[in-house]
């Protein structure tokens, strides 16, 4: 039979016509009919059919049920009837019933129990396919009652004689761990899993590796986490198994091996040698994972050594080959190549041509190729690249064309020798008069001017011709910049700028700012005939604009011009620093982290996993390992450039690298100084603030008459800084400044931070004479429990010890309780440091903590509520944009709003106060007297909470957003407490 098929296949090449195709179409397998039933009373009919005596009828009915389930109809009411069909010995029917169970067991937990017996029985079925099916399914049924029954069968299956069952069971351990991690750890499944790594069957090994990697990322206890770390010995064994695994198994193993960092250079080298053959695999995932492992290990080797160079050479061909695979895979590959090229440009420097865009490439591939093309551009190949880019700029896709034009500009900035050719290319493009091409070209030409000042001004004339076509803010801003910068060479610069000024109010802020600056530049260059213009723009900026940035810049210019035009010249017309050539490179530590995630989503998004994955896993950051310090010394400074992430060797698996740039934390630090409470802290701020204030008031003085005298305009009101806005107006400049600085210098020392009152936790009558009051504190990132113990009994108390029950946040004492024996009627206070790595169990209420305190008399139990703000970590701040996108990401219906009552706090003092509790104010906005504070906080288990605090005439309203709505009540409570505490 096979030969007959072979003959027919062999003459038409590449045309696989499997024999099964015929079989399926001939037999009347028209399953599509199941999709068509949408009548009323359908469920009722199905029910009858499910209970039919005839096997085939029941099977038909189950198929219909599955079809309805697929299209999204709710067929959960049929649960008991479907489960009845489960006992059938027909494997196909069984599979369908199991499929149904996986979908609906959660909604009907009590009825799901009915299925348990069958599951347990199936786990012992003589047919290994059925055993495996049962284990596979049971792990997917996430019902607590069933989970309990799962342990024994699973244990048996892990030791099953049949490899097919074992490999299924291995994955099941990961499933179970997701449902109940502690159960897995307690029942010793991890040990069994580890045994499977030495299994004789490669597929079992691969699945065990996959399961272990996943569990390792979310292990609950330290012991478990330690057990799951990869040892050199183990990695060695896995690499040996690599040869025998399926392609997927190879991916699992390579991804796991990537988490291991060898301690010696030799070891790294031999690992690379063993991984290299994988680069020739046909599966792109295998290739990329192998590239990841190698890229990581290369960090450990002496840079520039022969071995490194030969390895780097080996990497290039496979990467290029990835580009002849399917488009989607190409895209993933290109995103990764983008990273690799930034990390090690030498790998692909000779392969420029493969990144030339093809006409039929999908747009996402085109854009990525363009990006990489620019990164690989150098003086040697610029001619080729430029010819290509010009070709691209005539394509149809707007985004792509824009990017191509921008790329030409980047070439000019990167390769000085080619700048002239780039500029002439751009001019050619401007002649095409295609609106968006022209606009984009002007934006890049501005950059070129900044890089090579006074070199290509001849083109200005052409640019000015196209003034009218510009309708995008960025292009307008760029054009205005050019006019301002070269005002002395453009005869009608004042007219041009004036034409922009007419629509000043409608422009975007960036254009307004640019216009303001350009006019001032013009004025400084041609003071005689542009006075009117400069007055007009200044009054527009200071009086009619709402934007504080614009207003501020307006005032500064105004003062500068009025006090000291020479100084103004120095400031406004100062030499500008040259712009750097690569402005869009990823930050090195982020790049390092992303290289560790090659092949994964993080590398596609170019964002660290923590930016898009919830939960604990995200908190762990990977970084590239760095070479041992001794080696680094030996090779000297040569490798300084090659090192990316300086890490402590002892813990180089998870280096504590902060990826978010430091600006936020810097501000945080500044605010922290006065927050920390002590007199010293506020002293510093006062000192730093002190010189600022007088100098500003000086400026005010000068402004008063300086303006008039210098501009020679004295008199009419409009030229005066507006008085009618007392808060910010010039006359009350000092007030305004005082207001701004006030938040920093004056108030905070009084309310250095928030310390809650002691609460009574254990009254004396319940504690057999021992009375405990306490509170939770957070000092310098350390969570503490303050205990005030009073001995009301008649005898001495001693032998104190403390223990916590499992709780929602894994709070546990970091040290034993240190409390000296307590004589009658004596009181002692102790501080107990806590950590949050204990066992986790969700409590009701969420913040409930059950404590047991033992002394020489008895053990006493009490429970207390942990104020949630002590769990806010110091890392709760975030970038504005991150805040905004996170806020938008969270669905609106999970927002919760409460009124907090009225307080006398000013917005500044509130934000300072909250800052002391690690509630970070990200942004602030005021609209019509209503102040909005946008705040973020991060709990010790990684949960993010975002808040919007609205202050309207003393009344505070709080809106919260988080993915975990359970924490809302706690956060609201804490806000209330903090606000009340110092009111």
């Amino acid at each position: 039979k096979m030969q007959g098929v072979a003959a027919s296949v062999s003459d038409t090449l590449g045309n696989i016509r499997p024999w099964l195709h015929k079989v399926t179409t001939q037999s009347k397998m028209t399953d599509s009919k199941y999709f068509t039933t949408t009548r009323k009373g359908e469920i009722f009919e199905l029910k009858a059919e499910l209970n039919s005596d005839r096997k085939d009828k029941r099977k038909e009915a189950v198929k219909k049920v599955i079809a309805s389930m697929t299209v999204g109809k709710d067929v959960s009411t049929l649960f008991p009837d479907v489960v009845n069909c489960m006992q059938a010995d027909n494997l196909e029917l069984k599979k369908l019933v199991y499929l149904y169970l996986m979908n609906y067991a959660k909604t009907q937990p009590d009825k799901a129990i009915m299925a348990v017996n069958t599951f347990v029985r199936d786990c012992e079925d003589p047919n290994p396919l059925i055993r495996a099916l049962a284990v596979r399914t049971i792990g997917c049924i996430r019902v607590d009652e069933i989970t309990a029954y799962l342990c024994d069968p699973l244990r048996k299956c892990l030791k099953d004689e049949d490899p097919y069952v074992r490999k299924t069971a291995a994955v099941c351990v990961a499933k179970l761990h997701d449902i109940d991690p502690l159960l897995v750890e307690e029942q010793g499944f991890l040990d069994m899993l580890k045994d499977l790594l030495a299994d004789s069957n490669p597929m079992v090994v691969a699945n065990a590796v996959a399961a272990m990697t996943e569990i390792g990322e979310s292990a609950q206890t330290e012991a478990a986490a330690r057990m799951l770390t990869w040892s050199g010995h183990l990695v060695n064994k896995l690499l040996t198994a690599l040869n025998e695994c399926t392609e997927w198994g190879q991916v699992f193993i390579l991804d796991a091996v990537a988490n291991y960092t060898p301690s010696e250079e030799n070891e790294a080298q031999s690992m690379i040698e063993r991984v290299c053959p994988r680069l020739a695999h046909a599966n792109a995932a295998v290739v990329l994972s192998a590239v990841k492992v190698i890229m990581k290990l290369l960090e450990l080797l002496t840079p520039g050594s022969d071995f490194v160079q030969s390895t780097v050479k080996k990497l290039s061909a496979p990467l290029v080959t990835l580009l002849s695979s399917e488009h989607e895979i190409q895209y993933v590959a290109l995103r990764n190549i983008n990273l690799i090229v930034q990390k090690r440009p030498e790998i692909l420097k000779h392969e420029l041509k493969v990144f030339f865009v093809k006409y039929n490439d999908p747009i996402y591939v085109k854009l990525e190729k363009l990006d990489i093309l620019i990164r690989l551009t150098s003086a040697a190949n610029i001619a080729n690249v430029l010819a290509e880019l010009k070709e691209y700029a005539t394509e149809v896709d707007v985004d792509f064309v824009r990017k191509a034009v921008r790329a030409i500009g980047r070439c000019a900035i990167k390769v000085e020798s080619a700048a002239e050719r780039c500029v002439s290319t751009l001019l050619d493009l401007i002649q095409t008069k295609v609106n968006y091409v022209v606009q984009e070209a002007i934006v890049v030409i501005k950059d070129i001017f900044r890089k090579y000042p006074n070199k290509y001004e001849s083109v200005i004339g052409t640019l000015c011709e196209n003034l009218d076509t510009l309708d995008e803010p960025e292009a307008r801003a760029s054009m205005i910049w050019i006019i301002g910068e070269y005002a002395e060479r453009i005869d009608n610069a004042d007219e041009l700028l004036e034409s922009f000024l007419d629509g000043f109010a409608d422009e975007q802020t960036s254009v307004q700012l640019q216009l303001l600056t350009a006019v001032v530049k013009l004025f400084l260059k041609r003071p005689t005939d542009t006075q009117e213009l400069v007055q007009r723009v200044l009054s527009l900026a200071t009086q009619e604009a709402d934007n504080p940035d614009l207003r501020d810049r307006g005032y500064i210019y105004w003062r500068l011009l009025s006090t000291d035009p020479a100084a103004a010249k120095q400031v406004v017309l100062a030499e500008k620093p040259l712009i750097s050539e690569e402005t869009d490179l990823l930050e090195p530590s982020l790049l390092g982290e992303l290289v560790c995630h090659i092949g994964s989503l993080a590398s596609v998004y170019h964002r660290p996993p923590s930016a898009f994955v919830d939960g604990r896993v995200a908190a762990q950051r990977k970084g590239l390992p760095s070479r041992a310090p001794t080696l680094a010394e030996a090779t000297g400074a040569a490798d300084a450039g090659a090192e990316v992430v300086p890490t402590d060797n002892a813990q180089n698996a998870k280096p504590a690298v902060s990826v978010i740039p430091t600006q936020d934390s810097l501000i945080g630090d500044l605010l922290d100084i006065d927050m920390s409470g002590g007199g010293g802290g506020s002293g510093i701020t006062q000192q730093s603030a002190a010189p600022a204030v007088p100098s500003q008031s000086n400026a005010m003085d000068l402004l008063g008459d300086g303006l008039d005298s210098l501009l020679g305009l004295g008199g009419p009101a409009p030229q005066q800084p507006p008085q009618q806005q007392p808060a910010v107006g010039g006359g009350s400049g000092v007030d305004a400044l005082a207001d701004i600085f006030g938040g920093l210098s004056a108030t905070p020392s009084a309310q250095a931070g928030f310390t809650p009152q002691l609460e009574s936790w254990l009254p004396a009558q319940r504690g057999k004479g021992m009375q405990i009051d306490g509170r939770f504190l957070r000092r310098g990132a350390q969570l503490q429990m303050e205990l005030q113990v009073r001995n009301n009994a008649m005898q001495q108390l001693s032998g104190f010890a403390i223990q916590f029950n499992k709780n929602s946040f894994g709070l546990a004492p970091a040290q034993p309780l240190s409390l000296n024996p307590l004589a009658p009627m004596q009181t002692a206070t102790t501080l107990l440091p806590l950590h949050t790595k204990g066992q986790v169990q969700k409590m009701e209420p969420l913040l409930n903590l059950q404590v047991a305190v033992k002394n020489n008399i008895d053990v006493f139990y009490f429970s207390c509520l942990v104020p949630i703000h002590v769990l806010f970590t110091e890392e709760g701040g975030m970038d504005k944009r991150v805040f905004l996108s996170t806020w938008k990401d969270i669905p609106a219906d999970s927002e919760s709003q409460t009124s907090l009552g009225s307080y006398s706090h000013s917005p500044d003092s509130v934000s300072n106060l909250l800052q002391s509790c690690n509630v970070f104010t990200i942004a602030r906005r005021s609209v019509d007297g209503i102040e909005m504070l946008y705040q973020s906080m991060k709990l010790c288990n990684g949960i993010l909470v975002l808040a919007e605090l609205k202050i309207s005439g003393g009344a505070f309203t709080l809106s919260l957003k988080s993915r975990h709505a359970e924490v809302y009540s706690g956060v609201q409570e804490s806000y209330l407490k903090i606000l009340k505490s110092s009111n």
Binding site: M2, Y164, N201, T246, A284, P318, V396, F612, V613
Partner: protein
């Protein structure tokens, strides 16, 4: 799996963190998106969607984790392949007709999001849709051993009366040429397809004329190969092998040895950029005569041995969108203007080597209004088939060893064939 309307045909949830609303999210944000989605990976509300589209069918994978993106796409393609080999063309009708089968397949292909066995041959041994009825214990253990086994791609006990194998070297030649005739980029991506009908568990050794392999061989036995200086070795940039090839052996000894799956499979892929003999050259000449007329002249030169014949030669010359009429004159073959494709299609059934044929056309244009979009002059593309390998790739030997059964290398009937096809063979104009 969705149809083009965004209706769900198949949906299988492997993990708890993805709910039914993800299904709708993808429909709303990708399938029905107002602007066409510009990436195969999309993040919607912190959930990542990977999709692949085949005719009218959307195949979408969803996850909340940071998973291996390459693996996901590779898997989706594998899934298409498996489904294709089970029921032919992937379309809505076939999917609906086989939905139970697909669920069954998905059960085996993936477990908890981890790809398991995706080899069609093996899957067919135990997922048949005929129902596994009365299997004996030995039979099932055999199946499970094979599914998980070391050589997952071949079952034991295969017997043929005639041991035969077919090798096809299929190359697609890719070219991008500038209007001036300068080669911008050219590469050959080749595949070696094998059909093996061999008994038992044969071990095969495969030899090609790759420079690296040949040289290392020569170094190994320099005594015998003294004076063997004939050239004709090619430098392969990179090659990839089917999972049956022992990669570690290739790395150390440069030997390609493997136990082949039964039937048809792709043994290796390679890529070559050096010394490619381009079978054809296209020389375009475009002149715009006023606003309503264009003149196009295209010369095709064949550049290979006169004794060989190229087949299915087709040249596509794109025309502007506002073309109203075309007059074509060509020396050989048939040329027609296809308004639906906006192109002149010139077909030549057979073309010998070292020939030069010309086509000229006059294109009438509607008066271009300002509204009419700018025409971007897409490249002229070409299709063809030639009976040789443009890269110079040669099969040197393929030896078969089967130690247990009594047939030797000589008894195996072997066929080798070379085919050069066009990949993206474009000339800008």
């Amino acid at each position: 799996v969705y149809n083009h309307k965004g209706e769900v045909l198949i949906s299988r949830v492997y993990r708890d963190d993805i709910g039914r609303n993800a299904v709708d999210a993808f429909r709303v944000n990708v399938i029905h998106a107002r602007q066409q989605v510009r990436s195969p990976v999309n993040m919607i509300a912190r959930t990542s969607f990977f999709h692949v589209k085949r005719s009218n069918i959307w195949l979408c994978a969803v996850s909340k984790k940071n998973l291996n993106a390459a693996l996901v796409f590779q898997f989706l393609y594998k899934m298409l392949e498996v489904m294709g080999s089970y029921f032919g063309k992937i379309n809505e009708e076939n999917i609906k007709n086989n939905f139970v089968l697909i669920y069954e397949l998905l059960d085996e292909l993936l477990d908890y999001g981890y790809p398991q066995n995706t080899d069609t041959g093996v899957l067919k041994t135990f997922i048949t849709q005929q129902g596994v009825k009365s299997q004996t214990k030995e039979e099932t253990t055999k199946i499970t051993n094979q599914v998980t086994g070391q050589i997952a791609w071949r079952r034991e006990g295969i017997k043929y009366r005639r041991n035969e194998l077919f090798l096809d070297v299929v190359e697609s030649v890719n070219l991008l040429m500038s209007p001036q005739g300068q080669v911008l980029s050219a590469h050959v991506s080749g595949r070696v397809l094998m059909k093996s009908y061999l008994s038992g568990m044969p071990e095969c050794k495969f030899g090609i004329n790759d420079k690296v392999i040949v040289e290392s061989r020569r170094a190994a036995d320099s005594s015998s190969a003294a004076g063997a200086t004939k050239s004709g070795h090619i430098a392969i940039d990179d090659c990839q092998f089917h999972q049956c090839v022992k990669l570690s052996k290739f790395d150390t000894e440069h030997a390609i040895s493997f136990i082949p799956p039964d039937g048809e499979f792709e043994l290796m892929r390679y890529r070559n950029t050096k010394d490619i003999s381009l079978p054809f050259r296209v020389i375009p000449l475009v002149r715009e005569i006023g606003r309503t007329k264009m003149e196009v002249k295209v010369v095709v030169k064949s550049n290979f041995k006169p004794s060989l014949l190229a087949q299915k030669v087709e040249v596509r010359i794109p025309t502007p969108l506002n073309t109203s009429g075309v007059q074509v004159i060509c020396m050989k073959g048939k040329a027609r203007y296809k308004a639906s494709d906006n192109a002149i299609v010139w077909k030549i059934k057979r073309m010998g080597g070292m020939k030069e044929w010309q086509l000229s056309a006059e294109i009438d244009l509607l008066n271009a209004t300002d509204k009419a979009k700018k025409w971007t002059r897409p490249p002229i593309s070409m299709n063809f088939e030639v009976p040789f390998a443009a890269s110079g790739f040669k099969v040197r030997y393929l030896k078969v060893f089967e130690s247990k059964l009594n047939y030797s290398d000589h008894d195996v009937i072997k066929w080798v064939r070379y085919i050069g096809k066009s990949g993206l063979y474009e000339t800008r104009c």
